[in-house]
């Protein structure tokens, strides 16, 4: 990955506190300019921030940035404008996303053509290309532009404060954005006890899903006697649909590195590990680069900033096992074993990694630490609800218009997140439900979407906050099939150690398969409920204990949909293939005969180049024709 400051002098020799203060003084104004919206005044310099988050990169953000760099040089604008490659800006749907600052103009879906125009028109003459600017019709018909769009305007960024603002490869920019100021405070001004008190007062709860108070966890590890302790970052973001941890590691890796160093100082540890999924190569690459430059700058390793405190970090790459997101399984995996959970107690705070006291937090929790210590517990605890403080990052995906990452204060309603920030359902169909918390979570039906987003309120509805993946569904998603999908996931990922999870979930899956095939029996629903409750009570770890949640919550809120499958052998959403009737749309059929060849029971007939027909008497509802048709002429209802 190209970064803007590859040869930055700051990265080659150890930095002192004075040097950091100097960097803040010089570079902070540059960073601050990126956060303002100032139009109509010609600035001395412009910066073009090109999102280099994972999603934008897969939409060709890198060649777009390269092209803009070349075009700026060619136009002789090198001293008036430059390209900055930043982390995820959040609005993944609009990738590659580009921000021109200090004008505060977002350009969505920038291709090579538009990139050239931005340089030629906006950068050369200062004229905003209005028809290409990100815009959104407001509630009263007014045109909202760039930062006024609710997706950006309604957010409150703490964990994501630097994502999309700074170059993740530049330590200098991180320092300029108040980076390492919290570490300095902890090393030279605050006693460990003061830090612990501050964290507990702030009320930050674990962002990995369970919501355990972070300050308390730190206190336990601090209080446990031991000459060797470990600090671990859980970046094994396995929940399908959640990608905030990845975005933080890709967009602001130093925030995690700094927070872990702080924790090392507070709890008395000199060694930390970051456990990252193998599926996130870019996050690993950027984290690795940040460790190296922190080390060579004296911010990691021996005698950090001359304080006498030693701390170092290592990356451990996961190998594709969802259960490794569970803390005890994760520790087994770091030790090089099968990622199977251990019974608790003893808790990791007493006997964790290699039986030593271990502090384990999730990426998003880590990213909240420095702002809390800099701005104070009082500020942090003023945000959110009584029992859920601060903000939460949500990954919006599914049938929603604005897929991407948003950070919102706790207590905001789910409906606001989906409809205002997320822009509602893309297809225009009615909003049916939102699934939060992945395979451990549950569904919130549209009717209950006014629920406040906090740990307790979501739990009351049978959903959980989880890691913050929010999958939004319209009426084309079948809730039974969704439950089956999650159960299949759980069965596949169950480590096999305890029978309730290994066998119980397997049985639940076969019942669900039966129902989606139209072979459900009247007492299946009650059986699912009983089984689910037993599995929740008797499984060893979080995976088994929460595995039945998706089934139980859909049963609770969408029972009639299950009943339609069982009693009428019908799938109202039109997703369960075995329950569909397939027909050929005459206007789309080009008579290529591919469907007839694909049909295993010869139920399709027709002359080549003429419209084909399906014999419903013979059809076995396998759906082979649907996937075979090259023109999308087959419809299942």
């Amino acid at each position: 990955m190209k970064t803007n400051t590859e040869s930055s002098p700051a990265a080659v020799r150890p930095l002192g506190r004075e040097a950091m203060a100097a960097i803040r003084e010089c570079v902070r104004p540059v960073i601050e300019e990126r956060l303002v919206t100032r139009r109509g005044v010609a600035p001395l310099r412009r910066e073009v921030l090109v999102c280099h988050g994972g999603a934008c990169i897969s939409c060709r953000a890198v060649p777009v940035a390269d092209l803009m760099e070349a075009a700026i040089d060619q136009a002789g604008l090198a001293d008036q404008a430059r390209v900055v490659r930043v982390g995820c800006m959040g609005l993944c749907d609009a990738g590659p996303l580009v921000l021109v600052s200090p004008d505060g103009v977002y350009y969505p879906r920038v291709n090579e053509d538009l990139a050239g125009r931005i340089v030629k028109e906006h950068l050369s003459s200062g004229a905003v290309i209005e028809e290409e600017e990100l815009s959104w019709e407001g509630p009263d018909g007014e045109m909202l532009r760039s930062r006024e769009v609710p997706f950006f305007a309604r957010q409150m960024k703490i964990a994501l404060r630097n994502c999309g603002v700074i170059d993740p490869g530049s330590l200098e920019e991180y320092i300029a954005a108040d980076g390492y100021a919290a570490l300095e405070k902890v090393l030279f001004e605050m006693a460990p006890d003061q830090v612990l008190t501050e964290l507990k007062r702030a009320g930050l709860r674990g962002r990995g899903g369970a919501g355990f108070p972070v300050g308390l966890k730190w206190q336990f590890v601090h209080d446990t006697q031991g000459d060797v302790k470990y600090v671990v970052c859980n970046a094994d973001e396995g929940d399908p649909g959640a990608f905030m941890d990845r975005s933080i590691l890709e967009g602001d890796p130093y925030s995690v590195v700094e927070a872990m160093t702080i924790a090392g100082r507070v709890v008395g540890s000199n060694q930390g590990y970051v456990y990252v999924r193998a599926e996130y190569p870019l996050a690993i690459e950027r984290l690795d680069a940040s460790l190296n430059s922190a080390r060579s700058s004296g911010l990691l390793g021996k005698d950090i900033l001359g304080s006498g405190f030693d701390f170092d970090l290592e990356i451990r790459i996961g190998a594709g096992a969802f259960v490794c997101g569970e803390e005890t399984a994760l520790m087994n995996s770091i030790e090089g074993k099968r990622g199977m959970p251990r019974p608790r107690p003893p808790f990791p705070a007493q006997k964790g990694l290699w039986k030593r006291p271990t502090l384990l937090n999730n990426v998003e929790s880590w990213a909240n630490i420095s702002p809390i210590l800099l701005r104070g517990a009082k500020w942090y605890s003023s945000i959110g609800t009584e029992r859920s403080k601060g903000t939460k990052v949500f990954a919006l995906a599914g049938a929603i218009r604005n897929t991407g990452l948003v950070e919102v204060p706790m207590g905001i309603s789910l409906r606001e997140v989906v409809e205002d920030l997320g822009g509602g359902i893309r297809s225009g169909r009615p909003f049916k439900a939102a699934q939060s918390g992945g395979p451990s979570g549950g569904c919130v039906p549209a009717a209950a979407a006014d629920v406040a987003v906090d740990y307790e309120s979501l739990q009351e509805l049978g959903a959980i906050m989880g890691s913050g993946g929010l999958i939004v569904m319209d009426e084309t998603t079948c809730m039974v099939e969704l439950a089956r999908f999650f159960m299949e996931f759980i069965v596949d990922e169950s480590c096999g150690k305890c029978p309730p999870c290994r066998i119980g979930n397997r049985v639940m899956l076969s019942i669900l398969e039966r129902i989606t095939k139209g072979e459900g029996q009247e007492d299946d629903l009650g059986l699912l409920e009983r089984l689910g409750e037993h599995i929740q009570l008797s499984s060893l770890c979080g995976l088994g204990q929460t595995g039945p949640n998706p089934v139980l919550s859909t049963l609770r809120h969408f029972r009639e949909e299950y009943e339609t499958h069982v009693r009428e052998r019908r799938c109202p959403a039109g997703q369960c293939r075995a329950l569909l009737t397939y027909t050929i749309i005459e206007d789309l059929c080009n008579g290529c005969h591919v469907c007839a060849k694909a049909c295993p029971v010869d139920a399709i007939g027709g002359e080549i180049k003429n419209v084909h027909l399906i014999d419903q008497e013979v059809c076995t509802h396998c759906g082979a024709c649907l996937t075979a048709c090259p023109t999308g002429a087959i419809e299942g209802k």
């Binding site: 994972g54 399908p240 990608f243 599926e279 190998a319 995996s333 770091i334 699934q435 694909a598 999308g632």
Partner: protein, 198 residues
């Protein structure tokens, strides 16, 4: 590591296509990777997973003889190594295709009909999930959320993500890969593949 990779792709003079007749010959460089890793990072079991990653990155899979060799080097029994290899989805003991088709099965992709994408690819390649075509050109698998939820339904071909797929665009991608492979084969002086199945 980048240099090592270059070695292997350049060696067969750009042909790139693995000969289906001799699948089990293990590149001896894999053993040297193990030796080098163990001398750089001394340790026992805690080095196992990083080392397996290193080997699989090079070979594309973890053949049993290599697992045994790793076990010896780390002071573990072969079954301890196999226990780890078989536990984690990421590790595989079968070779993958030149084009690894990885259909994302995250929730966002799932609700956007990833199953259809998977079926279409199965149809086109004629292989089951987890399988490899006979010419080792394509392998097909479902993978856990790749975090490209904004692109759902998404497909990774090796390390390249393709998004917003429909059966029609998937067919196009598949045909493109196939013709790219054919061209490569022809330009490498091999026999022209006159078959035109799809």
């Amino acid at each position: 590591m980048a240099e090592m990779r270059n070695e292997v792709t350049e060696e067969p003079a750009g042909s790139g296509l693995i000969d289906a007749q001799a699948p089990e010959e293990i590149d001896s460089e894999a053993y040297r990777i193990v030796d080098r890793y163990v001398s750089e990072q001394p340790g026992g079991q805690e080095q196992l997973i990083p080392l397996l990653h290193r080997v699989q990155e090079y070979l594309g899979y973890l053949p049993f003889p290599v697992q045994e060799y790793v076990a010896g080097k780390l002071g573990l029994s072969p079954v301890e190594v196999y226990a780890v290899v078989s536990f984690y989805h990421f590790f595989t003991t079968t070779p993958r295709g030149r084009y690894q088709l990885k259909v994302c099965m995250g929730t966002a992709c799932f609700v956007n009909n990833a199953q259809t994408i998977c079926d279409v690819l199965g149809d086109l390649s004629g292989i089951e999930l987890g399988g490899v075509t006979e010419d080792r050109l394509f392998s097909l698998e479902q993978v856990r959320c790749i975090g490209a939820c904004g692109l759902a339904p998404a497909l990774m071909v090796n390390d390249e993500a393709h998004g917003h797929l429909t059966p029609i665009t998937v067919r196009k991608i598949f045909r493109k890969l196939k013709s790219a492979a054919r061209k490569e084969k022809n330009s490498a002086g091999g026999e022209a593949d006159s078959e035109n199945k799809h």
